[in-house]
Symmetry: C2
Subunit: 261 residues, 2 copies
Amino acid sequence: MRTIKLTIEYDGTNYSGWQIQPNGLAVQQVIEEALERLLGEVVRLRSSGRTDAGVHARGMAAAFTTHRDLPLRAFVEGTNRFLPADIAIIDANEVRAGFKPIGDALAKHYRYTILLSPVRSPLHRFHAWQVKERLDLKAMGEALPAFEGRHDFAAFRASNCVAKTTVRRIDSVTMRQEDGFLFIDVVGEGFLKNMVRVMVGTLVDIGKGRFAPDHIAWLLQNRDRKKAGVTAPACGLCLMKVFYPLDGRDEDESIFQPAAF
Amino acid sequence: MRTIKLTIEYDGTNYSGWQIQPNGLAVQQVIEEALERLLGEVVRLRSSGRTDAGVHARGMAAAFTTHRDLPLRAFVEGTNRFLPADIAIIDANEVRAGFKPIGDALAKHYRYTILLSPVRSPLHRFHAWQVKERLDLKAMGEALPAFEGRHDFAAFRASNCVAKTTVRRIDSVTMRQEDGFLFIDVVGEGFLKNMVRVMVGTLVDIGKGRFAPDHIAWLLQNRDRKKAGVTAPACGLCLMKVFYPLDGRDEDESIFQPAAF
């Protein structure tokens, strides 16, 4: 029995999110069906976590077990033949038995993209949040470091989030402005439901002058969701990468030639 | 009677191109109908040129005349209320009577985006040409300068192109590799049908070793379309900007605050 870890890119626009649920089409379901067509056996994917409806991924991680003796390339190219244009397997690795996509993850990297523009942009409508108001980027930059470290993020989650503990470790939050976009990169061990989106929404409210930069530290202490900012739209969010420890071989080594051509 | 110049961004994926034609929905038609709803009068848009089906624009230029005494902002924000999410007016300027969007243009800037990857990318499927083979970027870079200057581009056009003269001036062709993408920027006074796409297709064929770098100079001399490369797909092409001389006031000055927030 082999355990195969897949790295998956998808455009979440037309899906109800990663996880299979009663209503709407889930990314997980589409990939499981493609793998079943390729392998001729029932496949159950376990992922590094869920993504909400409309959220994208450049590097979702998911694993499954199989008896089939195919080369790793076939799990990529073969599966992609059965996948729609908005989902693709971009890498495959064999990992040790018992590999746990959630439990073994060291950290995740999310990127949130804001379009800084008074007019909407048709070319970026599915992959950025357009903010029309002028933002005080200096105030936002001052607010960022308060997120870093181990904190109680109870104020930064969906009202229907059911996580038992709300303490999470955030390794870094950085902000970069380029070509009219503002990219907010968040790396952390794990995330509550909507956590990145509420973090970004609160930062934007700081940028609009609704809150002072030190409001982040106050929220981490006072844990009151109602005092945090808006939930930024799903379309601006992308799961960039899930980090795992090396596992016998270098899992970060793609089966393909490196991207540098 | 006022003459209004619009700057237009669109995602060309779902359109049959800029120009109104018997089959399919044209970008021009959608904008004319939106303007007519806003202004309550018949509107005929003249543009700086056509774009093919599936080609995008960040800065298409088009002009029309109107009796309506609206502020410039209204031509942007008012029209956008009647436009679908994949088309937007991003700027409006008043120009002198007799302004000719084609005849007065000094130059146009097109960008072609190539995704250098052995696996397809769902997130960029509508806005880049994926090239799986490893490309010799050095050979492509050596080939570029041959395009610059005034040349006969008869070899670099669609077989059904009906232009009377095939001599065009190309001001610059540059190439930049970044994050797994290859961007090819072309600035020139005017372009034959499919010209940029055949230029890019030929460059990629040089990158694949099908032609030597000096094949460009040979094609410009021999004018044989059959000896040029493939026509690169429409989805990778974007009309970035149309340049016009200053016209009393600085037309490049947006009515909006500059993008630098």
